[in-house]
């Protein structure tokens, strides 16, 4: 029951919402309430997982492998919680600023179904199905504002990600062929007996699929246009909720399903990660609008996750999880703030800025801390130096854009009418959460550590 509710609530809600006119505030709030209910259900599930260990069920009560396994472990509940929280905030933000399309709330609810489902499933094909539910909703949500640039962005986004999806599908077929199973546990067990030369190709294919989703260099080019041209709340949804597919995917498949291949390709991943960090930073450096800087920055930030993942082990995985989560929070905050004007907005944006730059007391500091710790435990001087360089670049470009937008007379945020107070309050609340997590990081640290234990195959 606890396992099924987080999935059932948004699914029923989505269907119900599809029948209603989402432009009406009441419907919008109903959607927010249903997502909040799903959040509560997920929290209940998370507490159970943290205290009692993983929760598992197989559809129809069939033996494992025959039915679809749904499994909640510390990693999946953490990502579910984060994603739902992000979606609740973003949807509330959009409701407050006025929804323009009838079906927007329903589509967000459908995306929630997809995301929750893919976090909670323990079956690789079912993962694909949920992944498509989330992605298809995302394609529509991207184009929802209806401005020409948004529509062409939606098209590029859809084509590129579909390409990724089909590549992923091929990888699933290949995995099934060599293991005879779709259940992640069985697959992981059996794949250890398959010739490495075959598995590495499958693993690379999976990586390419998630790389596209993550906007990893060199698969990133679709991302800035999309993030910079959609509405702020939509950008926040895409970067804060949807992009978690990519990080969760590389973590789950990399560390859980293909651990041998992950270890084998660690140095290649580090190289890619470093290039991603530097490339993202260099692109972000002189961009003139906040959304563009944030978009490129989010490309760069994924590099840190990748590097932490490649370093591996309890510390590396914990760092990767923590960084991924903080990154998603930061992006939500920055995108939401970037669309607003008026008192306190600059402060909220600044909190996001220092959080991305890893400056305390914002929560992002602990992400940087963990990544550095992982790199130092790995005793890699070059890597530490490169991470340092990436961090330094991020300080420069983030502060540049902050000053460019909020300090300069004639900066975008200097003029114009102030946004509604409620919107600013909501965004500021997100900023406070980022600060609070920086001041009291223990819950996040403990949760990411528990998630990392799942990945290293610790206490099950």
């Amino acid at each position: 029951m606890t396992l099924v509710l987080p999935l059932a609530i948004p699914w029923f809600a989505a269907v119900a919402l599809a029948a209603l006119d989402g432009r009406r505030p009441a419907v919008g709030w109903a959607a927010v309430a249903s997502l909040a209910a799903a959040l509560v259900a997920t929290a209940a599930l998370a507490i159970r997982v943290w205290t009692e260990g993983p929760v598992e069920t197989v559809t129809g009560g069939w033996p494992v492998g025959v039915g679809i396994t749904l499994r909640a472990d510390a990693l999946s509940v953490l990502f579910s919680l984060l994603t739902l929280a992000v979606l609740v905030v973003c949807l509330a933000h959009e409701v407050l600023s006025g929804i323009e399309s009838r079906l927007f709330p329903a589509l967000v609810a459908f995306m929630t179904v997809g995301l929750t489902g893919l976090f909670l499933t323990g079956d690789i094909f079912s993962f694909y199905v949920f992944f498509e539910i989330a992605m298809v909703s995302a394609y529509v949500i991207t184009g929802y504002g209806g401005r020409p640039r948004q529509i062409s962005a939606a098209f590029v986004f859809a084509v590129v990600n579909l390409l990724g999806s089909f590549v992923f599908l091929i990888a699933i077929a290949a995995t099934y062929h060599v293991t005879g199973s779709l259940e992640m546990g069985q697959v992981a067990e059996r794949i250890a007996d398959v010739e490495p030369s075959t598995v590495i190709l499958i693993a690379v294919t999976v990586f390419v699929a998630f790389g596209v989703k993550l906007g990893l260099f060199p698969f990133h080019f679709w991302l800035p246009v999309v993030y910079a041209s959609v509405r702020p709340a939509v950008a926040a949804i895409l970067s804060g909720a949807l992009a978690n597919i990519g990080t969760y995917g590389v973590l789950r498949f990399g560390a859980d399903v293909f651990p041998r291949e992950l270890e084998f390709s660690a140095s290649a991943l580090v190289v890619l990660g470093v290039i991603t960090i530097l490339y993202g930073a260099m692109q972000a450096m002189s961009r003139r609008t906040a959304p563009e800087v944030i978009a490129y920055s989010s490309i760069g930030q994924v590099g840190y996750v990748l590097i932490a993942l490649a370093i591996g082990g309890p510390i590396g995985y914990a760092a990767a999880v923590l960084y991924a989560i903080l990154n998603s929070l930061n992006k939500v905050l920055l995108f939401l703030a970037s669309g607003l004007r008026g008192w306190l907005v600059g402060a909220a944006f600044f909190v996001g800025v220092i959080s991305v730059a890893g400056i305390p007391p914002a929560a992002g500091f602990f992400g940087k801390l963990e990544v550095f710790r992982a790199a130092i435990e790995d005793a890699s001087v070059t890597l530490v130096a490169l991470l340092f360089l990436g961090g330094a670049l991020s300080v420069v470009y983030l502060l540049q854009i902050y000053q460019h937008v909020y300090w300069r007379p004639g900066g975008v945020a200097a003029g114009g009418e102030a946004s509604p107070v409620v919107l600013r309050a909501l965004t500021f609340a997100v900023a406070l959460v980022v600060l609070a997590l920086g001041l009291w990081p223990e819950p996040l640290l403990a949760a990411s550590r528990a998630a990392a234990e799942v990945l290293v195959g610790g206490p099950e």
Binding site: V129, M135, Y139, R149, F155, L162, S165, F166
Partner: protein, 123 residues
């Protein structure tokens, strides 16, 4: 047979990729259809057994792997849904830009960026 199926998958994928590179958005959509065919064929080909249709009463001899069939079915339907949506988006691109070619869109993007870069980065 393994080689042949792989080769056909490759041809489908390659032809799809070629079309996806075109500047004409409608061709891009057709290219995506071909790539989805490649994925579906891979799914079907990844069956561990080949034989008659797996319907009770079971025929003599081997039956074909039902699981890959179920997966292919699901993938087909999903492919249908996303292709339909992609077509819809392509049409919207036409409606909003009065053009369905990537080159035109790229030009617009470059122009926009150039305008932005008129401004000095001063902090």
């Amino acid at each position: 047979m393994i080689l042949l199926l792989s080769a056909v998958v490759a041809v489908l994928f390659g032809a799809g990729a070629f079309l996806v590179l075109k500047t004409d958005l409608l061709r891009v959509v057709v290219g995506m259809v071909l790539i989805s065919h490649a994925a579906n064929l891979t799914l079907m080909a990844s069956g561990l057994t080949r034989g008659k249709a797996p319907i009770y009463p079971l025929p003599n001899g081997e039956v074909s792997d039902p699981l890959v069939q179920a997966m292919t079915l699901t993938a087909l339907v999903i492919g249908f849904g996303v292709t339909a949506l992609l077509l819809g988006i392509a049409y919207r691109v036409y409606e909003t830009h009065f053009a369905v070619d990537f080159d035109r869109l790229a030009e617009e993007e470059a122009r926009r960026e150039a305008e932005l870069e008129q401004e000095e980065v001063s902090v």
